[in-house]
């Protein structure tokens, strides 16, 4: 007698899960954070070096530097920036989807130390004398771009300008960006492209807090300067040690190709399982769909970034998830061939396969965990996906498959149909 209850439950379960997945797929896919290898962008590893001799690079300096970088990235408007400290003295900055790479790189690594010096390079004023966040771009009467600043103390500016005016004819107030030891006004002034921003002449004492910097810059350069001044100077010097940038077209193509290969692979695996394990394969295929959706959902939930190696790990994960099904189904086949009934073969097969699946998956989890702990960007993306895949495998390919197949087995509809598991009647012991 076939029991209808379990069969009903089986289809009801499938329909409910199907509806949930149908509604979940779209929002999940739209929330996937793509890494820079998939949507273009760049990644730079900076070595942090002291600005002045004797300056110590400790964790405070590092977090100050990261804070300054963060402010600058906000200016750029990148949606998913990732900044991390590595090895105690390196900073990795990842900017996926950034539009103007060159501007971004310049903005990131410039120390942005604004200084006013006299013609003999003596320091008069520096960034600490400015009111923070008050730099603006304006245009003079010739419609040339300039940057306006506000000083904290007009008296200090008055005394400085008085001093400079007294140096006539060497009455230049030299405005430097990132002045380094050894730079000199006398040398730079002779060059066609001097290192300093500008060197206006001061003819009288100026008792004001408003300063205008005019120079030979374009509107774009003026905006850059304003952004740099407003986000504050970096407390350290940053040297690019590693960089990789991916063109947007490259990223899109890689993603398309890899997803295409992945879709083909999943289809091929499903077909293979269906042909080799029949009904068991069908159940495995169903759980594989759930597996893929859950893996993506967890991945999105963790706000992890999907990279090319991540997609590869996901496709590999499909193979591993199916492996759990294969181990179990092979065991069930063994038991069926040994002459057991469908029900007891199902029970024994599941029971005996479980420790094998656990051992097999745990060893992979060990490897993935080590990768996650030690790996950097690309490797980490791979490890996260591998870890999620392995954990979800237990849920879908072990418990999910057992639940679904169990319902069908318990309905007794499969009794005396070992071919549904891919077992030939002539292979069963005791039957000639």
């Amino acid at each position: 007698m076939v029991k209808k209850g379990p069969i009903f439950s089986f289809f009801a379960l499938l329909i409910v899960l199907g509806i949930i997945i149908g509604f979940a797929v779209n929002p999940i896919i739209h929330r996937v954070n793509l890494g820079l290898d998939l949507k273009g962008g760049f990644e730079v590893l900076y070595q942090v070096e002291p600005l002045k001799a004797g300056q110590k690079i400790d964790s405070d300096t590092m977090s100050n530097a990261v804070a300054a970088i963060n402010k600058r990235i906000n200016v750029l408007g990148v949606s998913e920036p990732n900044i991390s400290i590595e090895n105690g003295h390196r900073i990795r900055v990842q900017l996926p989807g950034v539009k103007n790479e060159q501007r971004a790189r310049q903005l990131l690594s410039t120390t942005a130390k604004l200084e006013f010096r006299d013609y003999k390079d003596r320091l008069m004023l520096d960034g600490s004398d400015l009111k923070p966040g008050k730099a603006k771009v304006a245009f003079d009467e010739m419609n040339k771009p300039m940057v306006t600043l506000q000083l904290k103390d007009p008296k200090k500016f008055a005394s400085v300008t008085k001093k400079i005016a007294g140096y006539a004819p060497n009455n230049q107030l030299v405005i430097w960006m990132d002045y380094q030891k050894g730079d000199s006004y006398a040398k730079e002034a002779k060059k066609s492209k001097p290192k300093f921003i500008s060197a206006p002449s001061v003819s009288q004492e100026l008792n004001t807090s408003d300063v205008e910097i005019t120079g030979s810059f374009t509107a774009k350069e003026a905006t850059n300067l304003k952004d740099l001044l407003n986000s504050g100077s970096l407390p350290v010097r940053m040297v690019e040690k590693y960089s990789t940038s991916v063109g947007a077209q490259f990223g899109q193509d890689s993603m398309k190709e890899t997803i295409y290969a992945g879709a083909l692979a999943v289809a091929a695996i499903m077909l293979f399982m269906l042909l080799f394990y029949r009904l068991g394969g069908l159940i495995a295929d169903l759980t594989l769909i759930f597996y893929s959706v859950i893996v993506m959902a967890v991945f999105v939930g963790l706000q992890a970034v999907l990279t090319l190696p991540g997609i590869a790990a996901m496709i590999l994960g499909v193979g591993m998830a199916v492996d759990a099904n294969i181990i179990t189904l092979e065991r069930i086949k063994d038991e069926l061939r040994g002459g057991k009934s469908i029900l007891s073969a199902f029970k024994a097969g599941n029971q005996r396969a479980l420790p094998t699946v656990v051992d097999a998956n745990l060893t992979t989890i060990i490897a993935a965990a080590v990768l996650f702990a030690l790996g950097t960007s690309a490797v980490k993306g791979f490890a996260v996906m591998l870890l999620i895949s392995n954990v979800v495998t237990f849920l879908t390919s072990v418990y999910g498959a057992r639940l679904l197949l169990g319902l069908l087995v318990h309905s007794r509809a499969l009794n005396d149909h070992p071919w549904l598991f891919g077992v030939k009647r002539s292979d069963i012991r005791g039957i000639k």
């Binding site: 060159q102 940038s245 947007a248 190696p309 496709i315 590999l316 193979g319 490897a367 080590v370 030939k424």
Partner: protein, 318 residues
């Protein structure tokens, strides 16, 4: 099912049903030793084609809307005063060229390359630049990760099975990892950062296969209900266990090989070497689990038992 029943129960006509894995163990050992020797020689003669990740320098991937010619790429870089090393054309439409420059570039140089190449070929290129220190750190980290993962696996297998099985499982795994390195050295494939996840995946898979077989060995020893001592007794257990798990091993490796082969054919150019490493490693992994790990374990186990017996005899005589 009892073991003796199992031994003579009807087989279902698989091609490997009568293959004696233990009898041919020395052939397998010789093949693997030969491969390892070839690998060592190759590392000395051909060395490894280290990508910039592990050394230093700059790599530019130039993409064009149509097929690309090496000469044009070469000229473009010489015009910017760079000395491009071995440009390689790839991609299904032969529209990608990869160029290496033997030095680290700063952000201005990279910006120049990007804009000039874009104006000439139409698509923004990929540029990666690595300084020597970072490359060394990456390689060190990778090796460290491999060693740590191996130790973790040995300990786990030791707890769940026995030490000798853990040892042979890891020997098989090192064998697989080294084989990947051998193939990359022999065929001069570029070794980049992705080789580390590739090797670790293979480590995971190879150990998977090995453990599934050892699991069956353990079960069959329990079922045999007697103390095994001779190599013949261990041989029959190992042969039986391998045959019983072989369908699973082959099917599993097949389901993983399917995506790998498809990625190799249709996947992105940037992970080609990664999938290549997986392909080589998977095939080597299934071979080593079946033909190396189990037979090697049986041989070592019998030797260990013999020694213990000798020691005991000496002790009782004294």
């Amino acid at each position: 099912m009892e073991l003796n029943e199992k031994m003579n129960y009807k087989h279902y006509n698989k091609f490997y049903d009568h293959f004696d894995f233990m009898k041919h163990r020395n052939v397998f050992f010789i093949i693997s030793s030969a491969l390892i020797i070839v690998g060592i020689l190759s590392l000395f003669v051909f060395k490894l084609n280290l990508g910039i990740d592990f050394s230093s320098g700059t790599r530019v991937d130039v993409q064009s809307t149509q097929a690309i010619s090496i000469e044009k790429v070469d000229q473009a870089f010489r015009a910017m005063n760079y000395d491009p090393e071995r440009p390689v054309v790839s991609g299904t439409h032969k529209n990608i060229a990869t160029v290496r420059i033997n030095k680290e570039l700063n952000q201005h140089q990279i910006a120049e390359i990007k804009s000039k190449i874009k104006s000439q070929f139409g698509i923004e290129p990929n540029v990666s630049s690595v300084s020597p220190q970072v490359g060394r750190d990456l390689a060190k980290n990778g090796l460290f990760a491999l060693i740590l993962a191996s130790i973790g696996i040995i300990i786990y297998v030791w707890i769940r099975f026995e030490f000798l099985q853990g040892l042979t499982a890891v020997l098989a795994l090192i064998h697989d990892a080294f084989f990947i390195v051998t193939v990359f050295s022999l065929f001069h494939l570029e070794v980049d950062i992705l080789i580390i996840p590739a090797i670790l995946t293979i480590v995971g898979y190879s150990i998977n296969d090995t453990i599934v077989t050892f699991d069956r060995v353990r079960e069959n020893i329990k079922l045999s209900r007697k103390r095994l001592t001779t190599i013949e007794e261990y041989s029959s257990i190992v042969n039986l266990s391998i045959r019983e798990t072989l369908t699973r091993s082959l099917n599993t490796v097949l389901t993983v090989l399917i995506p790998v082969v498809l990625l190799l054919i249709f996947g992105s150019e940037s992970i080609r070497n990664f999938t290549m490493a997986l392909f080589v490693g998977l095939i080597c992994g299934v071979y080593s689990s079946i033909c190396i790990a189990c037979p090697l374990w049986a041989v070592m186990k019998v030797k260990y038992l013999d020694q213990r017996k000798k020691k005991r005899t000496v002790q009782t005589q004294a």
